[in-house]
Amino acid sequence: MDHLDKLEAQSVYILREAYREFKSLCMLWSIGKDSTVMLWLARKAFFGHVPIPLVHIDTHFKIPEMIEYRDHFALEWNLNMMYGENSEALAGKFTFPDGNADRITCCKYLKSEALKHTLSGEWPRYRIDHEQHRYVQDEGREPYTGVIVGVRADEEGSRSKERYFSPRDKDNVWDVGDQPPEFWNQFKTDFAPGTHVRIHPLLDWTEQNIWEYIEREKIPVVSLYFNQGEGIRYRSLGCYPCTNSVNSDARTVPEIIEELKSGKFSNIAERSGRAQDAEDGGLETLRRDGYM
């Protein structure tokens, strides 16, 4: 087995363990390359099926192509696709693009808050109807006790401390100082009422591994990751007001891998294009509050 086989094996094992142990389970799909690889790994784990609902938090500031891509594959792969949103903040325009919030606060409203209440079932979830090709409000209101998230340890400091199965308390808070032990591939699959567990199948993958696997498996990804001829591409995808493209000539997956291995990006952090990380406290402050 080569290193990709080993990474795949561990992720598949984690996904199957989550599916076995959590009766109310969902997977977050951000449409980005990492969670798309994770979705692909679920198809590996479950032999072509995805028996877990996929949840997308729609900030309505996502690059439009991402939403087209999401809905296309939701239908093609027969996914149980859902989205949630902070309709109050959007209606009241309490956002950074509207000039009524700083970047961190905007993230907190449109992502952390929306996520928290979508997972708990307090706010509506919209589920794709495979017959009508449109989203309808879902009747299910049960809280998810297991949430599968595609974070990687190499992305940023706080993520390097994560467990594969990471508990969150009643208020969604991550107690980084007192995490459960995890060894011999036995994970925290028991949880007290009211708490939930975040499951991280991609923890050991690096950005380069992700692209190598996309190449090997021929996984379709959003074209925004590639240079379309203007000499720019996105390395990390988020909301358009806060995500900057990078200068790059890479038009194909192998060219991206080459760029990461030996080229200009070999020593630059992936999330350097994400403006919210640079503000005070950055991602770690967001993550303690429930951000992924």
Partner: protein, 599 residues
Amino acid sequence: MSGRAQMNIVIVGHVDHGKSTVIGRLLADTGTLPKGKLEAVRESCRRNSKPFEYAFLLDALKDEQAQGITIDMARCFFKTAARDYIIIDAPGHIEFLKNMITGASRADSALLVIDADEGIKENSKRHGQMMSMLGVKQVTVLANKMDLVNFSEEVFEKLKADYTAFLSQINVTPISFIPVSAREGDNIASRSERMPWYKGYTVLEQLDQFVSDKELEEKPFRFPVQDIYKFTRSNDDRRIIAGTVAAGSVQVGDEVLFLPSGKTSVIQSVESFNTAPKVRATAGEPSGFTLTTQIYIRPGELMVKPSDPQPEVGSRFRVNIFWLGRAPMIRQKEYKLKLGSARATVRLAEIWNTLDASDLTSSKSKQQIDCRDVSECILETTRPIAFDTTVISEATGRFVIVDNYEIAGGGSVVENLSAGESLLQQHIRDRESHWEAGLIRTEQRAEVNRHRAKFIVFTGVPGTGKRVVAKALEQCLFLNGMSAYYLGVANIDRGLDADLGSRAENGGERLRRIGELARILTDAGLLFITTIDDADDYDIETLKALNEPNDILVVNMGENGFLRYQPDLQVPHLDVLAEAVKQVADHLKSREIILDYQI
């Protein structure tokens, strides 16, 4: 694709002996730091007017910086010419032992850092022993801070001799000792000119000398069944046995045996998504199989080949265990054991010996296993599981213990002791020897009631109509003047068992209470009827034992999970309810439990 080999290395050792500095150095000297990281840390040091240290590179989290110690394992990535490394920084502080274990268990090899100036400390020893418990076989000891002892060969040799003596007591032989100064960079990436007496590898050279995993493929085939999938709603009729091959290999056409159930079948296909067709699966591969026959098995069984050396099956075994829980492990409590894909209710039966890992003193008199103790003890599961002793196979011989939702301990099985008297047998013997009877004899009761007592259990997979038949039987017997009582299991959940909490964790205790209840109600002369979903050999044997000296009648409906146990009566799923009731009542009559009856 790069195709480069990858290895996980853990860095352990006592607090402040310099683990983070070693890692910071490795990252900096191999040029694998993300651009900007080094500058950011230097800038932060300048702002806070403190001298730059390589250890700060790892202090990515705020509360770490506040306390100045590593609280959790952190991962960083770097590469040498030979391969890619994931370095796991494990905390040295005693409070964070569980984080250290989390980090170390993922490693193929370990660097154990000891401060040459301060010498061997409590966690130098404890971590050495945990490497042994966790099964990390390749350990290199770094004598750090050699700059503080004038790069003295004498100090290094003394430390080497003392620590080797300690490790030999716990059967650990380190691969090498390296004198280093992580702060100054001596013998990390480049050879130190200040220690010309040292002729061995630098740390980087040593890392490249470590070898990657052991040959699991050559071992007997072991496949812990993680789950059974059937995605019928997506128009897929395959019934797939899913899991990861723990050891050995299997191919299409091989005969397979499931333990503990004892069922057998033959591999029909190896299933996968988006790969070339497969006929074989080997150690480490996540796999799925279909079988030539439709046998009923559950997640948690161990699939093996009958032609291979067989694993053990038992419910009582001698183990070595380490405890991490805040609450001690005690005898009166039920815990959950997870071994491979198996889950079982477990109790601590006996403690033989407890070791204080910091000074290796042992105690034979301890009555509980406290946090950070390492004990040799006997565990007993309520139902048998399949396992290997760790000498044969580590993946199927190691387990964790869950206490109050948390993994609180881990260990390895040393010996199967299932031949001895079980806790259940001891309990029943004790109960019966103290049973206080009233003045009415069993025969008298039967004579007045005009029927004998019986514990009647309906079982079979869910959805076969067990409860409907059970209730109709109660009604029929009652209307014929007999003392019959039907108990809905849900009533127990909300009543008698209301203190037990989650179902999985207390399966053994729930079963015991039903058995004890049956013992009392049959003693009262009742025809006591209840239903149990999907009982297996173990469930029925336990109920039968608990109900003794009284009688049990097992009625199965539909498919069942039994292998050894022959149900007294097999009732097919009947359209006519009266027919099913009649079958059971006729059986009772033929056994002279009841006299005549009418439906």
